[in-house]
Point group: C2
Chain length 212, copies 2
């Protein structure tokens, strides 16, 4: 069998000494890729090192243990999630508040659906049960922030009750997160095409309660 093009594994320039590369970032990126391609159980410290072409023990020079590597992956994930939420509200200044909030929430759920293993890591139980990675805890705040712009506009326009923006944002995010978690674990069954629509149904009574 003659060797065809070998589309996969495109002949990485594998130096013999990795002495200068940014191994920390390389390991984190490899771990992120593993998570996306093979799911939560496929993310292995040894396999990430293998992908980078380095001895697995070298990872311990840059991460205290496997969980520290996972935390780094999760942090990056939170940044990406917040970006998607902000993007969902870009250029929609004229849409009404309910619609804007629904779009931001849909971005949250769609992120979870597009990257289920990453989302599972970010929000799952294993990562931070002992509070070792405060950065991960605070990362969600960026997402809460994304909800605040439409809430502020809504209060200014007089359609929303005057109340703590942060409180309103947290209430909304709690519902959105619960929805994402339940959809992802198949506790709520919604057709993929209807995910945003059903979120609107869930948000409706809450927004009515937040209105004046």
């Amino acid at each position: 069998m003659p060797t065809p093009s070998r589309a996969k594994r495109p002949a990485r320039p594998r130096r013999k000494t990795y002495h200068h590369g940014d191994l920390k970032r390389a390991l984190r990126d490899a771990a992120t890729r593993l998570l996306a391609e093979r799911g939560g159980d496929g993310l292995t410290l040894r396999e990430a090192a293998r992908l980078v072409g380095v001895n697995h023990a070298a990872a311990y020079r840059h991460f205290a243990d496997k969980r520290a590597l996972l935390a780094a992956v999760a942090e990056e994930g939170y940044a990406a999630l917040a970006r998607r939420m902000r993007d969902a509200d870009a250029g929609t200044a004229r849409a009404d508040v309910a619609e804007r909030l629904r779009r931001i929430g849909t971005a949250y759920v769609e992120f979870a659906r597009a990257e289920p293993a990453l989302f599972g890591l970010m929000t799952g139980p294993r990562l931070n049960e002992d509070g070792r990675f405060p950065a991960v805890e605070q990362a969600l705040q960026q997402g809460v922030d994304a909800l605040e712009a439409p809430l502020r506009d809504g209060q200014a326009a007089g359609v929303l009750r005057a109340a703590s923006i942060e409180g309103q944002a947290l209430t909304l995010l709690t519902l959105i997160h619960g929805y994402a978690a339940l959809v992802l674990t198949r506790r709520i069954h919604v057709k993929p095409a209807r995910i945003g629509e059903y979120l609107g149904t869930l948000l409706e009574p809450l927004l009515r309660g937040l209105s004046r």
Copy 2:
């Protein structure tokens, strides 16, 4: 050192042949205990077999693999959770609807706090990503059911809008679950003594929106 009372590990009657015992149940119970005592990473198929006093390979006669054992543990957990939710609404028929719903929701969150590893298994990403255990998916319905009694009473009394009871219950559970998940993973910081109180704050606008 003379042997004192040895309060722990009360000399289980360990037969040499396990041929008759209900090994399936014994393994499931041991796994549940491991989860409670050592957390998610401490739950090992081999260790569960060790606790029961049986060769670990024997587990494969009763469970297809480790995940099947985890699913059995999770199912039992859902039954316990639903029981707590129903108990929280027992003998409170005269309390108002909002208060009853808040109590049921608090039972949900307190269960999660009391059994964090079990709750993490039940709701976490690892268990059922491929839909292999439909029983686990449906188990949450028992919890949703517990919310329906107060909702029915509220609609009958005319304080709640006439609408799908199931829809209202699912909306409430989504918010409650999101709250439990975020509290458990330290994304929301609430003092333990204030957990039920803050749930009330979260539920308030939603219930206002569900009211006529």
